[in-house]
């Protein structure tokens, strides 16, 4: 069995009296695609938010790449190798697609403001390298021809893909995708599934939130199911699909069965 890239240990997240995540534990293995599913309000996006440092967890521990993420600043979590997309697209609209990716790629630059101002060689070199890499990423995701367009003017589907390319720009080990197929038609979903697998094959580990069951079941190596902030299943897609608790969470229990 391969090692865990990230491990959530008994993570609890409370907002006042509301428990968004209650004692949730699971891990994501290296080079794995883990699907994270659950009904609305189950706490899926909250998982992303605690991993990326948007919220500080109430109790428990998150270990990424062997080290705890407790109290680490958000941008430093990204630098360590976690990058995410957003459920509601949050691109920088007034920047071009290429600039969106380059901005994320700046995370790992050695040169900062001063060397940029005076045009030190290290700054020029990094600028050139990152520009090429950003274009490669756009090509990889299949939106290379849009690189010079402003993000806000791009078609919806391209914006969704650009979100992924931008997150990959930060060179993450763990890529968090928050409903990347939202609003996609079936054909686009099939295409996206192929892209996600391609991303994994390129060496990334993917944690995927998705509502579309057929997509999740198709691409995931393993599926974790959340319901009301509790983990109710953690298994292969096939077994999860047949799990009575999962069916209950999604469809409810028939009256006469209870």
């Amino acid at each position: 069995m391969s090692t865990s890239l990230i491990e959530l240990k008994n993570v609890t997240m409370k907002f006042g009296g509301v428990t968004a995540l209650g004692d949730v534990s699971f891990d994501v293995k290296e080079k794995e695609i883990l699907g994270l599913i659950g009904p609305n309000g189950a706490g899926k996006t909250t998982v992303f938010n605690v991993i990326t440092g948007v919220y500080q967890i109430t109790s428990g521990e998150i270990i990424f790449d062997g080290k705890s993420l407790a109290g680490v600043k958000r941008y430093k979590i990204t630098k360590r190798g976690v990058a995410r997309t957003f459920q509601n697209i949050r691109l920088w609209g007034d920047m071009t697609a290429l600039e969106n990716v380059m901005t994320a790629a700046d995370t790992h630059k050695k040169s900062g403001l001063v060397s940029g101002l005076f045009g030190f060689p290290v700054s020029r070199r990094e600028e050139k390298r990152d520009k090429a890499r950003a274009q490669e990423l756009l090509d990889f995701i299949g939106i290379g021809e849009y690189s010079d367009r402003l993000a806000k003017n791009l078609p919806y589907g391209v914006q969704r893909r650009l979100e992924i390319a931008r997150a990959m720009g930060a060179e993450p080990k763990l890529l968090l995708l928050d409903e990347p197929a939202a609003g996609f038609n079936p054909a686009e979903k099939v295409e996206l599934a192929a892209t996600i697998r391609k991303i994994r094959d390129a060496g990334y580990t993917v944690l995927l939130i998705e509502h579309d069951m057929s997509l999740v079941m198709k691409v995931s190596d393993r599926v974790v199911v959340l319901d009301f902030g509790q983990k109710i299943a953690d298994d292969s897609p096939r077994k999860v699909q047949d799990d009575p608790r999962v069916i209950e969470a999604y469809l409810g229990v028939p009256e006469d069965a209870s």
């Binding site: 990326t52 440092g53 948007v54 958000r74 941008y75 990204t78 630098k79 990058a83 995410r84 957003f86 949050r90 691109l91 920088w92 609209g93 007034d94 920047m95 071009t96 600039e99 380059m102 901005t103 994320a104 700046d106 995370t107 790992h108 630059k109 040169s111 900062g112 403001l113 940029g116 101002l117 045009g119 700054s123 600028e127 010079d148 367009r149 402003l150 003017n153 931008r166 997150a167 720009g169 930060a170």
Partner: protein, 339 residues
């Protein structure tokens, strides 16, 4: 409507290196020659034309470029920008009268003092956003003025008098009434500031500021050290304001707290918004117009402020994004690709 910004950018982009240098040199030459055009329609009635070129015009342009880094590039509303101008001026005033240092030696000290106060203000204030940040900076601007008004060492309401003019360099003498010399000095500082902003805009810092302005949370989650770059924006904006302050004090020979009121902050902010937030050429144009117009229509006497206000209101209704707005010209980019 005729699009001045796109037209200008088109001409610039169609030129090779030689053409661009020629355009830049030509533009600088025209601007540098402005003091000799006092006899033309440009002349300002009542006020001395050449002194209007120095203050307010050139001074406003320099400060607007500085404030634009903070407001236009990074989207941080700073209502106390005059504080950095005052700190530069008082550094010049104090060191110029109490020590043997001359203006050129004090200039870097004044800039450093302004940058340092940018950190002092920025580190606590930039934890806040939007309206809250605006209120804190507003307070800071007032604090600096009130400290100057109450501190004996700074001359209280009498201010500091007898500030020395800069010593001559390269055989050019700075007499207090040779306005054109000061104008050219400011022009050099303005060119330096333009160089700095353009340089940074195209690189990491510019992208970081853009991303912060558009969606700060997304920026931080994608690895932009947002706090650091916000403080940098403050500090660089402050450095330009400080430089303007040093030259101002060395030119007017006398400074008092009354020179550094909230009104200056608001006027510079108006230059930035009027010209086009985030677009350096727009901001410069805005500062030129807002600096020049009140003196040009001085013959209207008391009605001139009314007309000035009317022009502002009309402009902001007709072009809410300013004369030369920031928006990137996507069409031009695509066209270039297709050819």
């Amino acid at each position: 409507m005729f699009n001045l910004r796109d037209k200008g950018a088109e001409i610039w982009e169609s030129q090779g290196r030689v053409g661009r240098v020629a355009i830049a040199v030509g533009a600088i030459a025209i601007v540098a020659a402005l003091p000799f055009m006092g006899g033309t329609f440009l002349n300002t009635p009542v006020a001395d034309y050449e002194s209007v070129l120095v203050y307010p015009i050139a001074m406003f342009v320099l400060m607007a470029i500085g404030l634009n880094i903070v407001i236009g590039k990074s989207g941080l509303l700073d209502l106390g920008y005059v504080a950095f101008f005052a700190i530069g001026a008082y550094t010049m005033g104090l060191l110029g009268t109490k020590t043997e240092l001359n203006t050129w030696e004090i200039l870097p000290i004044g800039i450093a003092m302004a940058m340092f106060s940018g950190i002092i203000l920025g580190v606590p204030a930039l934890k806040l956003r939007g309206d809250y940040l605006a209120i804190i900076t507003l307070g800071f601007g007032e604090i600096v003025r009130i400290v100057a008004l109450n501190l004996g060492a700074l001359g209280r309401s009498e201010g500091i008098q007898g500030i020395p003019t800069p010593p001559g360099i390269f055989g050019i003498e700075y007499a207090f009434d040779s306005h054109r010399i000061y104008y050219w000095t400011l022009l050099i500082l303005i060119l330096l500031a333009i160089w700095m902003v353009r340089r940074l805009s195209a690189r990491r810092a510019g992208r970081a500021w853009e991303s912060i302005r558009q969606d700060e949370d997304a920026a931080e989650l994608l690895g932009v050290p947002t706090f650091k770059y916000k403080v940098w924006a403050f500090v660089l904006g402050a450095s330009v304001g400080g430089a303007a302050g040093v030259i101002y004090a060395s030119k007017t020979l006398f400074i008092a707290p009354d020179n550094f009121t909230l009104q200056i902050s608001i006027l510079i902010l108006a230059c930035v918004v009027f010209g086009g937030m985030g677009n350096i050429w727009g901001v410069i144009l805005g500062a030129v117009i807002l600096g020049y117009l009140p003196d040009r229509i001085r013959f209207l006497s008391d009605a001139r402020l009314l007309v000035f206000g009317l022009v502002l209101v009309l402009m902001m209704n007709l072009r809410p994004d300013g004369i030369l707005p920031r928006k990137k010209r996507e069409k031009a980019i695509v066209k270039k690709d297709a050819s």
